[in-house]
Symmetry: C2
Subunit: 257 residues, 2 copies
Amino acid sequence: MDNSILKLFNTEYPIVQGGMIWCSGWELASAVSNAGGLGLIGSGSMYPEVLVDHIRKCKAATNKPFGVNIPLLYPNIEEHIHSVIEEGVKVVFTSAGNPATWTKKLKDNGITVVHVTANTKFAKKSEDAGVDAIVAEGFEAGGHNGREETTTLCLIPMIKQAVKIPVIAAGGIGTGRGMLAAMALGADGVQIGSRFVASKESSADIHFKNAVINAVEGDTKLMLKQVTPVRLLKTSFLIKCLKRKQEVPALLNFQNY
Amino acid sequence: MDNSILKLFNTEYPIVQGGMIWCSGWELASAVSNAGGLGLIGSGSMYPEVLVDHIRKCKAATNKPFGVNIPLLYPNIEEHIHSVIEEGVKVVFTSAGNPATWTKKLKDNGITVVHVTANTKFAKKSEDAGVDAIVAEGFEAGGHNGREETTTLCLIPMIKQAVKIPVIAAGGIGTGRGMLAAMALGADGVQIGSRFVASKESSADIHFKNAVINAVEGDTKLMLKQVTPVRLLKTSFLIKCLKRKQEVPALLNFQNY
């Protein structure tokens, strides 16, 4: 298989396990990497010393390539950047921030850098910032998302046309069919999240795993659009919040729901 | 090509031109049918006598199969049903209503019936009502849309799994790549709208054609969710309406925008 993502990460399959706060520690990342994909430790929910511990455990659990996802809005971002460099992490996925800020430093330290975007404009900015590949994340993706609400089916061909670097499709992909569709649209690889949340090795709580498995059409919704759009499961707690939205602090502005 | 849609419609390609109010009269429908797809006359914006006129002109313009799209909410629905039967139309696509109401009558008159849905529940109901195929329309589709906001990428595999009849994918498809992706997801054919709006034979106004062509990421939005969800272009008129939403009559409830 002549594939730019396999060459970039030196993996067996062009499948990336998305970095997900609380769900993707060293157990999941190493399991995915051992199975031939690229596992990512999600550092967004980790204190700096916790990340170092997960990186070390991941290195002990696999000889295959793995990476760390760092949301650039992380408050102690310098410490996370320092940790991945010090611990010899080979691949970093950055998200939720400006790719120009840290890409050069990471690349100067021999790290492959991938940035997550949800629109063409930031895909081009990421390429200009020197990243090695793009994750193009559609409207159907779980977690943080773009304001334009562009779906994976529409987004991938546009981003593929806009940049020369490899494109990894994300959002709504959880099967071989979905992967084939993404590649028909021009993607070089795929990033999968929710399907991995529901795996044994995921550190998500069993109730969350079951909620993901049992979710049907209409059970998730893109919310918090005025703050930062995020796709959430409509749990009973969330529905209660929506009903009491006047009382929710300004930061959790559900107004645009 | 062993394809259930080609067999059902007796066309050369498994491509349906979506019925679209104001945009798809006999000129567009006959042009698509002459080119090997299935052209549809969009009857939702036509008075009964106008529809009859378009059907007759379409018959004169092509010997190939063509169809009529009838939104079941159309106020003079009985007259449209009568017209398609009287004029010997071979294919009817129904949408925006209960497929149980008219399917039997149409099929008793030898008409192939396809119903448009945006979720699994109504796909199953349509199959139970005896339709010959389903259009499964994702969140990215223009015009009327589902409340669940399920994207084409997620919707097609679910509906394909839920029903035994052929599935036509719609929403976000406008290229060969998109068509291949839809078929990788399990679709037997595709329905394309906006791409045909922008064609010479479409009866859309040139300003609307240009607006469709020039639209970029984020330029359309699913709105009127409290009434009946519809994907609209964010024109300056619409933005003005949104700014003055308090003054807009209750029927045009933008509250959920």
